[in-house]
Symmetry: C2
Subunit: 186 residues, 2 copies
DNA sequence: TCCAATCTTGGACGATCGTCCAAAAAGCGC
DNA sequence: GCGCTTTTTGGACGATCGTCCAAGATTGGA
């Protein structure tokens, strides 16, 4: 299972053959269909379980004391960028899995993005309350906005690997996102 | 060539076998290696040539007379959304090709995104001058911003197919983008 | 200790892949 | 019409894929 993710990260979904996976896991070939009924079922399981927990978790990186909310947002997105740059193949694999799933099981991918949205909601509320703020727009709307931004930042950076440009983008969107947070009305 | 794109759009990169492509093109099997030296070379050619020209071109859709610049930006992004919704498999294929290329020929994908940026610059300048405006930030920065937004909108919609949410996002980012345009100083 | 039930394994099978190549088809000057 | 060059073709080959399964290893009760 973990081995399958490593294989996909290294060589893409097409490299995730039954033999490559069991070899990575140091298991005999027969063990594959002893655990999973088929290769497609394995990929389904992988898509279902490998939610990018780190992606959202790492965004709780805290800036220095007395920072503006905009700086807090920048710090969070910068922390995600650090994660992306440190392990690009992981994010690459996640997207490949999502695109693969869009063809075989579109509903599954839709549900998986629902998980992302909920994780995004949690992060956004933590960031806001940290600064005594609350979000003006409904949380589902804000969470989807965050996912759109992160997806865009990720795919574009994976393509051009232009780290300074990605940093610049983060600093330019942060005010827009932060502008949707208002002081909590007591 | 066109046949290869159709096959990829229908079944993904993994479905782009030599036999499937020549069958789609109604050509004999031998013709494949008579035209292309290998399958990888074909995919390289496809990535190189299939710039999403329509993507950028369609964004020149004009709103009614006397519209604010923000409304012009919304109309442009809405027009792209129409294109995406009308032919999702095309955009899906483009992303699959890009991700495939990131593993085999990263530099090629980077150059291809350079083409996107230049096309984005052209669109942005056209949109701005149409309203007697100019962009405050350098054009490469603005163009990359546009690509990040479009990539994010696309991947997220492909995953959740939530059209109203995508429309809402377009209306919420438009002010942020439009805010970088200022009246041309005579 | 021995047998039966269960779990585990690696080899085998059919399908399909990319690639090659000998032969057929098609031009073409004479 | 004929011989020669060039283009075009589909069958063949080796590799690799997902999947299956008979045989070997393991376990636990009598």
């Amino acid at each position: 299972m973990r081995a399958a993710i490593r294989v996909i990260a290294r060589g893409g979904v097409s490299a995730a053959t039954t033999r490559a996976i069991v070899s990575e896991a140091k298991m005999p070939l027969g063990a594959f269909h002893y655990v999973f009924t088929s290769r497609d079922e394995l990929l389904s399981q992988v898509i279902r379980t490998v939610t990018d927990d780190e992606r959202m978790a790492v965004e709780l990186a805290l800036p220095g004391e007395g920072a503006t909310f905009e700086q807090v947002v920048v710090a969070a997105l910068d922390a995600y960028l650090d994660l992306l740059i440190a392990d690009p193949e992981r994010e690459l694999a996640l997207f490949e899995l999502a695109f693969y799933g869009m063809r075989s099981e579109p509903d599954l991918v839709g549900r998986q993005y629902g998980v992302y949205y909920r994780e995004g909601e949690a992060i956004l509320t933590q960031l806001a309350t940290m600064c005594g703020l609350t979000w003006r727009e409904p949380m589902p709307v804000m969470a989807r906005r965050l996912v759109v931004v992160i997806d865009g930042v990720t795919t574009t950076w994976l393509a051009d690997r232009d780290t300074p440009a990605a940093r610049e983008f983060v600093r330019s969107v942060a005010p827009w996102i932060a502008a949707s947070a208002v002081p909590v009305t007591a």
